[in-house]
Amino acid sequence: MTELDSSRIPFWRRHEFALLVSIFAVLVLTTVLDKNHNYITEWQQSSIDLSRQTALLSLYALGAAVVIIAGGIDLSTGSVVAFSGTICATLMMLMAPEAIEKSTPVGPVVITTAITVTLLIGILIGSLHAWLITEVGLPPFVATLGTLVGLRSLSRAIMEAATQAVQGGAKTQISIGDKSFRELSGAISGTSWNLVILVLVVGAMLWVLLSKTVTGRHLYALGGNEQAARLSGIQTDRLKWLAYCLSAFLSSLAGILYVGQLSVADPQTSGRGYELNAIAAAVVGGCSLQGGIGTIPGTLLGSLFLRVVIDGVAKIIKTGADVYEGLIVGVLVVFAVTFTRSSAASTTPRRLFSGALGWVTMLNLTLLAGVMMALLGSKLIEGRITMDPVWQAGIAAVAALSLMLILRTDNSRQAKQKLGALWAVALIVTTVGCDMTYPGIQRSASKSAIKSLGGNVSDGADGVVVDLSGTKCDDAMIKKLMLRLKYFPNLTEFRLRETSISDKGLDAIFRTWQTEADCPVIRLDVSGSAVTQNGLKRLKQNYPRVTTP
């Protein structure tokens, strides 16, 4: 008879489900917000890139997850990736020096041997960790920190010694051109099937290990309470050995595949910071750094979520994916841990901004909001807003500060919700208001600036006339003025007689508008200024509508 167990957690309340929904939401958001709609127009390339990066991240994130579930931590991932890449490439070079130098095929025997030995060395590294932790008695943090620092240096030394011996000159990297080796990570055919299948197979095996076997149950017990696990008759030291070996093995595998993908083994740059990405993926995927909690599917989804967010941000703001990668990973980890903690157990609502630290934190977050808006604002809402980044930053900072002030108060939840709604309305009204008054303010500011120079802004027959004749205005000044003058939509005439403006200044004026068609200026008077005939000629070629007296 099966007992109806009401204490099981339904799927839709599990961490994995929340991750799935989040991944879907981020994908949809990216598709919509990305101006080029890359996910639709180039869906094949996008999905190959995304799946390849996710697969490689997942590979070593799974290793990190096993160690974290067992109550440890492996900080050596990045260096093991670099070390194994170095070893694999060096072995191939030693076995087939000419083929490597000429980028000709090295043959399957060489490849298989190199990979097998590298993976075995990965297991040796894991065993070293296990020995340092269980026998020497070092904390996992220290043991793996040691190899993190040490292995990278060792890989470089090996690389230089080997290239010196074989190629006659010490090099810091080895290029691998062998096509069948590179195809292991899909670099030749430009696909990611190999990697995706590999990760799914590894994931499935680890999932079975952790959730279906005695060993897996013991790993969870070890992470949950090491002393109790030992007293329950579990060989905790052997389990740690297994966990650290799995982690180092998977990092080595990833290291080999990275060499294939990049066609070069470079111990100095490869795998830098990967250990933190791996831990982040595991934590976002629901693993608890206290140990005993976490799943393999969760970790896979955690890796996917990280990559999807990094990719999405890169697509939306059109920068290289790595620029904001660290920031995204950091923020996501903090949120993931906060979120899982608070949903687990909190009886009383937490006060986030109390006391002196609260004030400093508010300052902190206000500054952060301002800086983020200044950096990203123009990219996110480009073309839909006229304010410059400084104004956007100011509004974002004030908005963040006022929101935190509302949260800081002792009001009840309902009152806070009302205030929050009020805040949102006020924010929208203020932003729109500022955005509408912004051009006017800029126009009047430019007027008074020109007046103080002794010039004049007046309404001519068909538009605005800027008269700076006889003033001390030079190239730098006009360049500055143009930042504000551009908010006159019908700026038709410039009078710049007897000024020190040169060709450069002229360029500055006309470069304010992106195309010739946008430029409203049709009359220009530069007689007596430092502008040369050549400059004028060039201008007239580019802007044929402009007339000079």
Partner: protein, 524 residues
């Protein structure tokens, strides 16, 4: 009863809810100045929650507390100390790596004229605090290295220190309130002599006008000291009684809501063949004056026999069980024979395979996996039985867990319920089930009833009796002598690592056991 004395503390309709669970419901009663009020109730009755409210640990609750005629408004434990209320928690609140003096002055450190810590002064004052407590604890010693009983005295000294401070501050001001000391099950980790010492200290404190609220479910302690007894059950006040007008039996009856007799087990049990035979077992203790944690231990245990080990804290009870279970930090000397053949274990796994299982002391630290559920707890040590080629069979595991839940009457919402959702007694049953599922021939129980309520204790005594009648050999240790006397066939007394007495059923009295347990300290 004199109506003229104004109550020192008056609880008026205090209610506290944790989400759906009501921990306290409309609790109202008075505490008179200078009295010893015992607060009794099973675990989960709300005693600790109530005292956490009084000491400022919990600040959001309904109803009000009037202290000395003024409504108490606390925002934290610091506030409570300002009002003269200190609490000694069941789980001690000390920083293990700091010195005794640093712990006593934690949060109100003394400074010298440079504004730096004045360790010398703090150590002197700490010593002065220990003087009336009849103990000689070095204030510079790290708290971690003290025995639990001494650690508790550090807590008391800490409380006295804050009381002392209030007195010196408000010296001369009229109408000063009596300081209030709350003790939450202070004797649960103490040996008999430490308990006696604690009671002498309490008497002295009362002479100095300290009001004491004492939480306990040990009737002898309560009846030895209390002026009045308030019984809580399911978050409500059942009754407040004057001590002379009641009996332990009535109080325990009120606590559990039913009448439980003081039962003795073991009548008519017949020990069988020898299961365990220990010869000259010694465990060295490097760098200690005693040199031996255990010295020349000899005893045997038979099938269907419960052998108890009595002894003070530090006498070596836990160390002895760890030696038998292969869990001691270094291997013991001497021979251990299991069913006639000598054994030597380096790891608990080997002991389990040979048929020795152990339920460890300190459930939270050595027994419980807070991340796991009930089923995983029960089957953890016996997964080999429910798996094939290393793969766990979910159906067989479920069946095994279900069987244990049923036979041990574990109260749980289901086998997948988190272990943390169970009461202490039921958690302990799961841990016992884990040991039993390995089908041991010898079961080691190290203080299995510590910190669990009266009802669950009785169930565990019954369980021990049943197991024993089914032929299991059991070794039991306990810090409560009456427990050993009720359950055991034979009691061996340990004192400073040596066996100093052996008593058989029907011939043991608390007096004799106590004398044996303190024997060598009397000699030296």
């Amino acid at each position: 009863m004199s109506e003229t004395v104004l109550p020192l503390i008056r609880f008026e309709g205090v209610t506290k809810r944790f989400h759906a669970v009501t921990a306290l419901e409309n609790v109202s009663f008075d505490v008179q100045p200078g009295e010893f009020l015992a607060l009794c109730g099973e675990n989960g009755a709300g005693k600790s929650t109530l005292m956490k409210i009084l000491s400022g640990v919990i600040t959001d609750y309904e109803g009000q507390i009037v202290v000395g005629g003024q409504t108490l408004k606390l925002t934290g434990t610091r506030d409570a100390e300002e009002c003269g209320i200190s609490i000694i928690h069941q789980e001690l609140n000390l920083v293990g790596d700091l010195s005794v003096a640093a712990n006593i002055f934690l949060g109100r450190e003394l400074r010298n004229s440079f504004g730096l810590l004045d360790d010398r002064q703090m150590e002197q004052e700490a010593s002065a605090l220990f003087e009336p407590l009849e103990c000689h604890i070095d204030p510079r010693q790290a708290v971690r290295t003290l025995r639990i009983g001494d650690q508790q005295l550090v807590e008391i000294a800490k409380a006295l220190n804050s009381e002392h401070r209030i007195k010196s501050r408000s010296a001369g001001s009229a109408g000063q309130l009596s300081p209030i000391l709350i003790m939450d099950e202070p004797t649960s980790a103490l040996t008999e002599s430490e308990v006696e010492r604690l009671f002498r200290i309490i008497t002295r404190l009362r002479q100095r006008g300290v009001t004491i609220i004492y939480i306990s479910h040990k009737m002898d302690e309560v009846f030895q000291n209390a002026d009045r007894i308030t019984v809580l059950r399911d978050g409500k006040v059942v009754k407040t009684l004057d001590r002379p007008a009641t009996t332990p039996r009535e109080i325990t009856g009120l606590m559990v809501g039913r009448d439980i007799g003081e039962s003795h087990f073991g009548a008519g049990r017949e020990p069988g063949a020898v299961v365990l035979n220990v010869q000259n077992l010694s465990l060295p203790w490097r760098g200690h004056v005693r040199q031996w944690r255990l010295k020349d231990i000899q005893f045997s245990v038979r099938q269907g026999e419960v052998v108890g080990f009595a002894g003070l804290m530090g006498a070596g009870r836990t160390e002895l069980l760890e030696c038998l279970y292969g869990a001691s930090p270094e291997s013991p000397m001497g021979t251990i024979e299991l069913n006639g053949s000598p054994v030597k274990f380096d790891h608990p796994e080997e002991a389990l395979h040979s048929g020795i299982a152990m339920v460890t002391e300190d459930r939270k630290r050595f027994g419980l996996f807070t991340t796991m559920n009930v089923r995983e707890h029960i089957t953890l040590s016996s997964l080999d039985q429910t798996s094939r080629a290393g793969m766990i069979s979910a159906a067989r595991e479920n069946a095994a867990a279900g069987e244990s839940i049923k036979s041990l009457q574990v109260k749980t919402a289901g086998s997948s319920a988190p272990i943390t959702s169970l009461s202490g007694g039921n958690q302990q049953k799961c841990i016992i089930a884990r040991a039993l599922r390995t089908e041991p021939k010898l079961l080691l129980l190290d203080d299995p009833t510590r910190g669990i309520d009266v009802g669950a204790k009785a169930e565990i005594y019954h369980l021990i009796d049943d197991l024993c009648r089914n032929g299991l050999a059991i070794i039991l240790t306990s810090s409560e002598l009456p427990e050993l006397i009720a359950v055991c066939d034979r009691i061996l007394v340990l004192c400073e690592g040596r066996i100093t007495g052996e008593f058989h059923r029907g011939k043991f009295t608390e007096q004799d056991l106590m004398e044996a347990a303190t024997a060598s300290s009397l000699v030296s």
